[in-house]
Symmetry: C2
Subunit: 257 residues, 2 copies
């Protein structure tokens, strides 16, 4: 860990007023100097979206007391990280943390998640980055139960660094602190969202849909994030943004192209 | 290739009327039975976003003549694929193609790209999937120059299949057909968008930003998509959606957690 207090960028996808990010700010205030750049509205499911067809607003804001400096941004979680790095901060932060998300981002959900995409963007920018999610969609979820674990993982990341090209996806089961069995480093489980669209008719007679779905785990491995979470552990998956399927190159080279 | 005509799902991120997708439909009509489910408005930069905070509309539409059946959808490219698979098609398509994108999706751009995220969603759904992009942002780009290559890659994918968990990211240089040197199977170059925000003031005195940026290639390798494109080749990168950085697990296991 740097001798002077580290500079920590905090963001999320549930919006700057969400209880999950307020708790994350409170935890990070005990570790370093905190800058918050977070969306002004909920941005769940935004994945790695950036705003290219519209303008962005970004303004200082005070949500609650504390030493943190905060900005509310009209864009996506990834926009917030870009805005922070390029416009707001005059140095690269020592750590970027995103969350604490209201709900799981394990298995394939990592790819749809605004929380994790913000962390991935931090990694692309060369900042050690971590996304945190609690397996509880309730707005009034008890984030305090996981505070010590979040702090411990952030401190270890500051102490050890995270290798280039890698960010951490941390999911925390909905358990009391003393019920959590420990922290497991895992791989992403092979799962899929089996969607179902809820078709309805508007008061004006027009049909519309709500996207809905159910997660299906196709992976029996005991080294996955889903297994860890189902068995009372916090899961930590190292995530990369080199998406190349290196193992597939040789096979496709045999095609008649 | 299946004996009967394959069922091909076509989508994109530039919107259902964009010249790139109209050319892709024309090409796919020569190979199989085509269903188009594409966004009703431009969705560039939407990454793997899905619509969870709003409703979706999806309606049959006729844009131009041809045997294809088309639907226009109010959602993101990923929503379009989910809608096609779950609501519109009564069987899994044999191939999902996305594009042809107006502009490059090489290197790290794969992660921001709606075109590629639609293809990745196809892969997640278990469909052999390919995203196509032409390195020309011009609305009137000459997509016909690359038609034979697009057809050839699609036919090979139908013949050979694409292994589970892998989708193809195809980028095509802005060259005449006879100037293209060939097709190279590549890895994703290590590059980054160095953003710059263009700060302006509205007529009402409020400051706002346009996200802008410049691509920086940090990779000197001759096995990358950027190298291939700069040297007159079409690049094909196999892309995976297991984001686990397997090589990083051991290191993080040594942390004091």
């Amino acid at each position: 860990m740097p001798k002077k207090r580290p500079l920590i960028l905090v963001t999320n996808d549930d919006g700057i007023t969400a209880p999950g990010v307020r708790m994350l700010i409170e935890i990070m205030n005990t570790i370093g100097d905190v800058i918050v750049v977070a969306p002004d509205s909920p941005q769940s499911g935004m994945g790695h979206a950036i705003t290219v067809n519209n303008v962005l607003h970004c303004n200082p804001i005070t949500i609650d007391e504390g030493p943190q400096i905060e900005y509310s941004c009209s864009g996506t979680p990834v926009d917030c990280v870009k805005m922070a790095v390029s416009e707001i901060l005059n140095k690269k932060p020592d750590l970027c943390v995103s969350g604490i998300n209201h709900g799981a981002n394990s298995s394939i959900s990592v790819i749809y998640s605004g929380t994790m995409s913000a962390a991935v963007e931090g990694g692309i920018e060369g900042i050690p980055s971590i996304g945190f999610s609690l397996l509880d969609y309730n707005y009034h979820a008890d984030f305090r139960q996981c505070a010590d674990f979040v702090k411990s993982i952030a401190l270890e990341a500051l102490k050890n660094g995270i290798q280039e090209g890698v960010v951490l996806n941390v999911n925390i089961p909905k358990l009391k602190k003393e019920e959590i069995k420990g922290i497991k480093i895992c791989r992403q489980a092979n799962g899929v969202w089996k969607e179902s669209f809820d078709k309805r008719t508007s008061p004006y007679g027009r049909e519309y849909y709500w996207l809905s779905g159910e997660f299906v785990n196709k992976d029996k491995g005991e080294d996955t994030d889903i297994w860890a979470l189902e068995n009372g552990y916090i899961s930590v998956v190292p995530v990369q943004f080199d998406l190349t399927a290196h193992h597939a190159i040789q096979k496709i080279n045999s095609w008649d192209l």
